[in-house]
């Protein structure tokens, strides 16, 4: 059984939730410490993140660069808007393919859930067209929204 849920909301949002068997502090740190991010935010098998810059403070910037080791790669840049340790991160990001995609506004929350953490990531795209394009091209970092079986529409 998958612990992951993905759904679309309205015309411009994508919501991802996932439970983790670790306290919010640890999950928050794994989202903000470059050494930890490099270990998991990798997407498909075979990809690595040789560049991981992350200034986790309001107004701070981040830059992630991925490569598959065979000449293919892409990068994401973003800025932090709000950080409430160990509860909430708000940032904007865009992917370069190589032209920058429209900004994705992302709020990530870490709430205590039993002995672990419930992470809720709420993405807001500028418009329905951008969200559709993001879903069709794969969404950065392997993100997705579930139109599966048209669940979200019915």
């Amino acid at each position: 059984m998958s612990k992951l849920t993905l759904k679309t909301e309205g015309d411009t949002h994508v919501i991802v939730t996932r439970h983790f068997a670790a306290p919010p502090e640890a999950v928050y740190r794994a989202h903000t410490d470059p050494k930890l991010i490099q270990k998991w935010l990798l997407g498909p098998e075979g990809w690595t993140m040789p560049v991981c810059i992350n200034e986790a403070k309001p107004g701070g910037k981040f830059r992630y660069e991925w490569t598959n080791g065979k000449g293919r790669g892409f990068h994401v840049t973003g800025e932090f808007l709000e950080l409430e340790p160990y509860h909430r991160i708000v940032h904007v990001e865009r992917m370069y393919l190589p032209d920058p995609t429209p900004d994705n506004h992302v709020e990530t929350k870490f709430d205590p859930d039993g002995k672990g953490t419930l992470m809720t990531m709420r993405m807001t795209l500028p418009d329905a067209q951008t969200r559709a394009a993001m879903l069709a091209t794969g969404m950065e970092r392997g993100m997705e929204a579930s139109y599966v079986r048209l669940e979200g529409m019915i």
């Binding site: 015309d11 098998e45 329905a128 392997g142 139109y147 048209l150």
Partner: protein, 112 residues
């Protein structure tokens, strides 16, 4: 635009999503499809054309009527694509589970 791009773009419109939701319940005539919407039939037909071009619905000839239904091949292709993306995302978070377990162990080690 490839098939999947067209399919996802077709889904960017709320009216077209509502039409698909209706068709998920079974084959429907254009008149019936138009009923819940404050729209002219040409406007609805335009939406149906977008969905058809995207491979999400097909039409059948039944006398003067052209009832529409979901195209299982198009819907399946989207399902498969999304399943693949879901897998990539799950892979990230499964790896994160491992990272978190490692952090916990490290912490215990420090306390000793």
């Amino acid at each position: 635009m490839n098939g999947l791009d067209a399919a996802f773009s077709a889904l960017a419109d709320p009216t077209r999503r509502a039409i698909l939701a209706r068709l998920a319940k079974g084959e429907t005539t254009v008149n019936e499809l138009a009923k819940p919407f404050e729209m002219t039939q040409p406007a609805i037909s335009q939406h149906l054309k977008v969905l058809e071009d995207a491979g999400l619905i097909v039409r059948r000839v039944d006398g003067a009527k052209r009832p529409r239904r979901l195209a299982s091949a198009g819907i399946d292709a989207m399902d498969q694509w999304l399943a693949m993306l879901r897998k990539a995302l799950e892979k990230n978070y499964d790896r994160l589970d491992g990272v978190l377990a490692g952090m916990e162990q490290h912490k215990r080690g420090e306390k000793r």
